[in-house]
Point group: C2
Chain length 245, copies 2
Amino acid sequence: MGISHLISIVGAGPGDPELLTVKAVNRLKNADVILYDALAGNEILDLAKPGAEKIYVGKLHNDGQNQVERQNSIHAKFLKFSKQNKTVLRLKSGDPMVFGRGAEEVRFCRENNLNYEVIPGVTAGIAASAFFDIPLTERGKSSSLLFCSGQRENGCFSNMDSIAHILNSGSSAVIYMGLNILADLACALIKNSVESSTPVQILSNISRINQSICSTTLGNVSTFLEQNEPDSPATIIIGKHATQI
Amino acid sequence: MGISHLISIVGAGPGDPELLTVKAVNRLKNADVILYDALAGNEILDLAKPGAEKIYVGKLHNDGQNQVERQNSIHAKFLKFSKQNKTVLRLKSGDPMVFGRGAEEVRFCRENNLNYEVIPGVTAGIAASAFFDIPLTERGKSSSLLFCSGQRENGCFSNMDSIAHILNSGSSAVIYMGLNILADLACALIKNSVESSTPVQILSNISRINQSICSTTLGNVSTFLEQNEPDSPATIIIGKHATQI
């Protein structure tokens, strides 16, 4: 099969084990070592073969971990287990290449001549659309779709212009890891002349039994978040047409 | 189980049957009727239960079908088979809500009180990233990702500004159904001050046995396409950092 000693960098999807791909399940059942992220639930980890070593390598908001050290430690495990001829499954939430640092792990594997593969997964923004009936694209309404993170540089959102531009064109933006910066982002978008009436959907625990939606608008986000506390993890969809069908 | 008489609007992923979700496979095995698109291969359709009715409802570029009539005919089948108490699987390439007209089918189901669900799938742009080692986002390089179609209105690309804006910010754009308009799009982007050296990746038959990549630049796309004919279906990734790792 040629999959011995393989490092599989796998997207686990948004949480529901049924949203794993068949390929991801096959690799899970075969792996000797599973390096898993914060959002991988027990139902998914239970698919592993008996005796598989399961190692938590995740990061949660404000858990105090240094991100560079954490990533280096994951890479070190790639090397260590490959040398031991073990099959490694690197299980990442959503998709590895969409805000998942998959590129860094691929680069490390290539630089160290490790045998690897990437298996794509269902990313949270797309799953949110499916489970909450929120169109992401629609003919004649929104012909683009922006995925972005709430990343800041020197206090400013590094992709503010792009988000404002997409929203003003009538298309939608999906914000990953954005709950903590949402109030600031909404304020900045309105300053960048995005209409304050633009709908905002906050989707928590997508595809899980406790999934929930909070609907507000850019202008009302701050007040809403003062009075409500949506669950983490949450994905946010903003857009004129990004309302439930 | 409560899934009898259900219409499942399902993303089949990019083509490899192993990239179906477990949920999609379960629904395929249970459906009485399968309404499938052009890109659903036999390997996927063969997962259906014996005796399932498989009806082609797809559209290929330049096949002469009227898109509105085609969509109405799909909706009519939703009604017809629901009335017959049959379980329907609407099998769509990639993900239903990303350039898949899933929103129109959901709206029809809601308006007609049909019992439906949407099951998300792996979309082609994300699969392309995984199978060709092309980062879609990367910390410090590209913090946004634009998905768009090559849709035109009155001869102009309706989302030209957004694409140019994203590319000029250093992030990447994934163009769906874009092979036929790629030369024109590249030309228009360069006119909109996107650097002609920006890398362009043309990914054909993603996840299939015959998948292939063609790499060029915005400035060279026209010449490249005069001398080469990349296979359809193709997804295109454009971006300063959208090169193979």
